[in-house]
């Protein structure tokens, strides 16, 4: 029996974005000023109606159509700005679509943020009731689940303390605990699992899986591909407001990893702006994935290559080209250079490329950036270096343990374990 609970047809959402205004809200003065301009134009009809150059239409979503069956667990995948959050906001009736139509059957609860409406002055107990009401529970329902929620959040001792005195961890735990105990027919969840410490995240993911197994319909947005794969059966891929693919989650995750924006994976300098000295000029730097394509999103299991092209302007002896890599937290990851790769001592003027191959299973999931430099003996000072110019993200699509958590650390070796039987006791 086909049992469609959500039907989205040709959904579109347009925003008007201003280019000059700093504030998101209009000030009355601007409106009056524009109106006044309108009046002067009325008397002076020469300049015909033209669009305001400071305003631009922006379609956050365009022609999106899909259907959700009862019990489906659907992941919504896309880059920042692809329209995921807008879609969820429209589905949860927070904002109206510009065109298109949605029909929904059943009680919807959406969780777009953890701890919406928490008031710092109120105690944990008071906030629990308030937040429950905001998420659509009534008093009897909250009372019934009260103990369960408190136990899940592990804040029993602080129930009567104002939440402004809570540590951020406690705050998030309480907030998520309330949300986790909603039981609607349709649950809409936006990237809220990325909160709290690893252990609590594990608990949250577990709770989410449980919700899914109870046959509820779940719409889930996350950038965590491992969580996506474990929670969802189907996924839709959004790209700049368009729905580009609707298929099973494995396909979509693969597509998502493949279609990334390569602008960070390639950098090209022109002869004026390039980092250069009288001896050498950088031309281009890029990252290639195992297929030899430009890539800024890499699979931790696959090998990849970092490369830099440069022009040597005068003969150089014992030139070294190298790179330095750090992660998003600014932790130095590694550095390497190429002297062994060029067997002759001198390099004649001309264009060269230095390529560095990384095997798979080296970097852990995370975001990294790279800069390049060149030096000559006595290697005390760089001849020239580039700024951090390449960035890439490593994804761990394998997932670990029951709940697909990220492994600790910056390296992600593929290690072999053995267990041997020693003594029977």
């Amino acid at each position: 029996m086909s049992d469609t609970v959500i039907r989205v047809e040709n959904l579109g959402k347009k925003y008007i974005i201003g280019h000059q205004q700093q504030e998101r809200y209009t000030a009355l003065r601007d409106v009056l000023a524009n109106k006044a301009k309108g009046i002067t134009q009325l008397f002076n009809p020469k300049p015909s109606k033209r669009p305001n150059p400071s305003l631009e239409e922006f379609w956050a979503l365009k022609d999106v159509s899909f259907e959700v069956e009862r019990g489906d667990r659907i992941g919504i995948i896309g880059r920042n700005g692809a329209g995921k959050s807008t879609l969820l906001k429209i589905l949860s009736r927070i904002t109206e679509p510009t065109n298109g139509r949605i029909s929904i059957k059943g009680r919807v609860a959406s969780l777009l943020e953890v701890g919406t409406g928490f008031h710092p002055e109120l105690t944990g107990r008071e906030n629990l009731f308030l937040n429950g009401a905001i998420l659509g529970m009534d008093r009897t329902e909250i009372r019934r689940k009260f103990d369960e929620i408190v136990a899940f959040a592990e804040v029993e001792r602080f129930l009567d303390t104002p939440v402004k005195r809570y540590s951020s961890g406690m705050y998030i735990r309480l907030a998520f605990a309330v949300a986790a105990h909603l039981d609607p027919e349709i649950l809409i969840v936006d990237e809220v699992l990325a909160v709290g410490d690893a252990q609590f995240q594990k608990k949250c993911l577990g709770k989410m899986e449980q919700v899914g197994q109870q046959g509820r319909t779940v719409l889930f947005v996350s950038h965590n591909m491992a969580a996506m794969r474990s929670l969802c059966s189907r996924a839709i891929l959004l790209n700049q407001g368009h729905l580009t693919e609707d298929s099973n989650v494995e396909n979509i995750v693969a597509k998502y990893l493949a279609e990334e924006d390569i602008s960070e994976a390639v950098v090209k300098w022109d002869s004026q702006t390039a980092p250069q000295s009288s001896e050498i000029r950088f031309i281009r730097a890029y990252i290639l994935d195992n297929q030899g394509d430009y890539a800024s999103l890499l699979d931790c299991r696959k090998r990849f290559q970092i490369a830099v092209e440069y022009e040597i302007l005068k003969p150089l002896r014992d030139l070294r080209i190298g790179f330095f890599m750090q992660n998003l937290e600014g932790v130095a990851i590694c550095g390497s250079n190429d002297p062994m790769a060029w067997t002759e001592p001198a390099r004649e003027p001309g264009r060269y490329v230095s390529q560095c191959d990384f095997p798979g299973y080296v970097l852990n999931a995370g975001r990294y950036s790279v800069y390049f430099g060149a030096d000559i003996p006595p290697y005390t000072k760089l001849l020239v270096s580039t700024p951090y110019c390449l960035s890439f993200t490593v994804e761990d699509v394998e997932g670990h343990g029951l709940l697909n958590e990220k492994l600790p650390g910056v390296v992600r070796p593929n290690l072999n374990w053995k267990v041997n039987y020693l003594v029977h006791t």
Binding site: A27, I94, E96, G117, E121, F129
Partner: protein, 288 residues
């Protein structure tokens, strides 16, 4: 929610649950029904604001007594003693306070109401509920202050051995008009405030200004008869006159044509306020 769910199921004609349609420009058929469904949230928001109102203050709720009391003292001295305005035969403090009560109710309700959407911006952009819940619950909070400062009036009456007439039982009616007036203006201000933050500055000014153009410190009987109808264009004139009529039992303190005008203005403000709010609420989440 179970009870509710069963009810909703029964209502729907199709098998299963009611179907919700989301479309551009669709004014929801069951908006008012939705407001009823979200009464829990209404209750909790009001409860939160009441709880928070005097948290971490040393004397707490006493503020709800001190502020109107001191204003009353100042007004009595300035208007009653220094300016020697007539008191229509009742003790001046009672004359002032019977107007202080509705004025305080109106001014706090108006300020709370017009700021309510901005103050709950995080809710508006993250959760769905009929937006009318927010300003309405804000108004309820000021009603609590009103009830508390009512104690002062009782104390004054005891002090001056003033016995009100039967008309005191009509007081709830006038209170409702005062609430309607603050709701009406407040809804306009709240919706305009979302788009134009200028109203954040206009409202305090309006409240301050209103205190002097409304008959709070004096009886409206000092206004020359030919101007009274015009004076009643201020919706609070009708409300305050009504309060005085009800509390002081003084026939002269109310001017019925003016009262009718004020009250119809209040109704007009409230209806148009709701209309404008409903018109704008669809875009609140996008512009706030």
């Amino acid at each position: 929610m179970t009870k509710l769910k069963i009810k909703r199921r029964r209502e729907s004609s199709a098998p299963g649950e009611t179907e919700l349609i989301i479309e551009a420009g669709r004014t929801e058929k069951n908006y008012w029904q939705d407001i009823w469904r979200y009464r829990e949230l209404f209750y909790f928001l009001a409860w939160r604001d009441i709880l928070v109102r005097y948290k971490q203050t040393a004397i707490g709720v006493a503020w709800a007594l001190i502020r109107p009391f001191l204003t009353m003292v100042v007004f009595t001295v300035v208007f009653g003693r220094l300016a020697n305005l007539p008191s229509d035969g009742v003790p001046y403090p009672i004359l002032v306070f019977s107007a202080m009560l509705p004025w305080q109710l109106f001014s706090t309700a108006l300020s709370e109401c017009s700021n309510s959407l901005i103050a709950n911006a995080n809710l508006l952009s993250k959760v769905y509920f009929p937006r009318l819940v927010v300003p309405t619950s804000a108004v309820v909070v000021s009603f609590v202050d009103f009830a508390i400062s009512g104690i002062i009036l009782v104390a004054l009456m005891v002090w001056f051995a003033f016995v009100p007439s039967w008309r005191i039982i009509t007081l709830p009616l006038f209170t409702l008009i005062a609430l309607a007036a603050s709701m009406g203006v407040g809804l306009w201000m709240a919706s305009l405030n979302v788009q134009y933050r200028d109203f954040r500055y206009i409202v305090p000014f309006l409240v301050q200004f209103g205190l002097y153009i409304s008959p709070v410190g004096f009886s409206s009987s000092i206004v020359p008869a030919q101007w009274r109808l015009l004076y009643s264009l201020n919706p609070m004139v009708g409300v305050i006159d009504g309060f005085r009529w009800s509390i002081l039992g003084n026939e002269a303190s109310i001017y019925w044509p003016g009262f009718a005008l004020s009250t119809s203005l209040v109704v007009l403000l409230l209806v148009s306020g709701i209309w404008y709010f409903r018109k704008m609420e669809r875009t609140f989440a996008d512009v706030i």
